[in-house]
Amino acid sequence: MASDRDDARQLQALVLDACHAKRRLRLVGSNSKGFYGRVAEGETLSLSDHRGVVSYAPTELVITARGGTPLVEIERLLAEKEQMLPFEPPHFNGGGTIGGAVAAGLSGPRRPWGGAPRDLLLGIKLLDGRGRILNFGGQVMKNVAGYDLSRLMAGALGTLGILLEVSVKVLPKPPQEHTLMFFSEDRNPWKVMRDLLGKAIPITATCSQGKRHKLRLACNERRLKQIQTTHGLETIENQQEFWQALRDQELDFFQCKAPLWRISLPPAAVLDPGNETLNEWANAQRWLVSERPAEEIRALAEEQTGHATLFRYGDRSGELFHPLQPRLAEIQRQLKQVFDPNGIFNPGRHYSHY
């Protein structure tokens, strides 16, 4: 195991140097999400040596760690205190750092109930494109002093700066989780799921593929029995690996090398994209493998007030994320200017225009 190291000063010197030379940098943590987003131009700057947990106060429900700290290390530490990262970050190829998890903004199956990185991020220490070290947010749960610039970093794909440190809210881990399953032949599966959700059943993940629907529940055995009987659901044992494989996209569904789309929608939205989708997040996140033209898939998502991302494979030279309203694109470009006026961080990784 690599040892903890504070590389902030070295990174700052590197950034200042790059800034003066207008040299572009491609930021890399463990490179577990190298496939995600557009290909950034520039020289690789590895952030994985800047690592280590800075503070962890279990009863304050917050952990602060350097950006390069591996997720597995953080999760191991939290598990000792029966706690977890509520957004259940994916560990693609078994990798992932906390800085990368926040920068990519991706969440696992628990997302609708546990939140996304943007929901759980409490504060950051940022190294911006002018080599300045800035602190936004903090280590406390509620903080409305100044604009919330820390959460703006979640999902920005490192285009605004280097996350030297992040403080993230953690939560108690449910003592037990169970998996239930149901098949729906002609019933609309959303109706069943909406019914369960409306009854405040403690769902922590869902996965629907074809006629088969799996639900993960956090409850004790007694309650599980009750739910099972009342709703006619079947229990399946030893599903922990299934949910992990879903989180890390290791299920068969994800093994096809054709374009994989991530479609984000209101849960009740009916989508008929041609091919079968795999639905998570109580239907709010749908995965589609399809060779259909991007514009068609995006139009389908947009009709339902959602959006579509070309997540993996396919033509990665164009825009992968849903096009923005012109004014939003302009605001985004100007915000990039605020944090990184010389455009040194991950140019083109998020959108081609910055």
Binding site: A57, P58, T59, E60, Q83, G105, G115, D128, L134, F136, G138, Q139, V140, M141, K142, N143, V144, A145, G146, Y147, D148, L149, R151, L152, G155, A156, L160, P172, K173, P175, R194, L197, G198, A200, P202, N220, S264, P266, A268, A269, W281, A284, Q285, Q304, T305, G306, H307, T309, F321, P323, L324, R327, L328, A329, I331, Q332, Q334, V338, H350, Y351
Partner: protein
Amino acid sequence: MHDRQTLARAFQQLLPSDCVIFREEELIPYECDGLSAYRRVPLIVLLPYTADQVEAILKFCHRKQIPVVARGAGTGLSGGALPHEQGVLLSLARLNKILEIDAENMQARVQPGVRNLAVSEAARPHGLYYAPDPSSQIACSIGGNVAENAGGVHCLKYGLTLHNVLQLTLITIDGEKITLGTGGLDAPGLDLLTLITGSEGMLGVVVEVRVKLLPIPTCQQVVLAAFDDVETAANAVAEIIAQGILPAGLEMMDNLSIRASEDFVHAGYPTDAEAILLCEVDGVDDEVAEEIGQVRQILLKSGAAQVRTAADEQERIRFWAGRKNAFPAVGRLSPDYYCMDGTIPRSQLGKVLKHIGEMSDRYGLRCANVFHAGDGNLHPLILYDANIPGELEQAERFGGEILELCVAVGGTITGEHGVGMEKINQMCVQFTDQELETFHAVKAVFDPHNLLNPGKAIPTLNRCAEFGAMHVHAGKLRFPELERF
């Protein structure tokens, strides 16, 4: 300088005449928000009915370079909606329609002037509710909640406004309508929804909000625990969390607040306790019963002198009524009170309360403490009498010192009320010049001419230099005995 009469005539061309308020006596009710210590009469008040009218107003103000201060229900506690003497006070109170309760998707679309509680009332027939519940929820508006990123007593489990908003329609200062967020759980591009939430009307005017609705819990139960000292109560809170319990609400009150509330609403609080904790658990019946059992045990083990579970729903509501009415209750003890809003790491509570006690003696002003214990958000209520010359200034100095203490122990000057006008000086303590510069640069992206709520939320570097000169930064001199974070 704009002339009131000329401007009124111009706006009367733009809007129905009942939307334009410009007579001095009619302007007075708008001179302050919930922080009545600060008052200013606006040049003019506009009360549009529609988003299109808001757009027209902003376009006009942008063209004429007129400052605009947006106002919701005016319940804010930091002077965020304090008018500008040379500007328009833009009240969104008439944009008060619930546009859609989408029970199927568990969402609602509302206009900004809709009251917080009205959303839950409209959703109730569908078995749903809107989770954030600031104490002012009967009166405060969703638009104001978004501007302040309002919290409430249940945000430990259900999150802040930020966590419960899916989409915003915003009108920029130059009158362009933009949509942030989507009908799903996320949106493409930078997460501007998080940036706008809590931005105190400095970046744009929100004209529509799509919120998340949750199923109403089938069972709620609350435990009241009394303690002989505050520190033991704070430790009990840590112990509940350490045991893996995430209560729906976890509130603490000190003796002065307990007595004030008891006198006011007869909640059944033990008035001899130094602190009480209210711990609420929600969910389904038997699980709630089980968890309440655990909570009771933890509280007793942690040294509670008395632990009472609400006997029935009436008592549960009464226990909460005491807490939710703590501010007005304390208000009865004194002609005026000044409410602070720092957040601290919970472990620092004992230390912070001890210091506040010392300050209270030093300033000769009483201070009652109400605490969202679950998330570390402290509301010291400083009692003063504005009719006694100098007492308001003393209260402000006392409050400022409390906020700087919060920063010194690793917390923040505001957890949920916002910076507004009130805490603008303390921003200089919490942030460096470079950080403040970044805030100004972000503001300029949205509002390059500084027309939206000018002078609020983010201090100018000059102001900080002046404040620093008379004040010495907290980190340097104040509380030298404290460990620094």
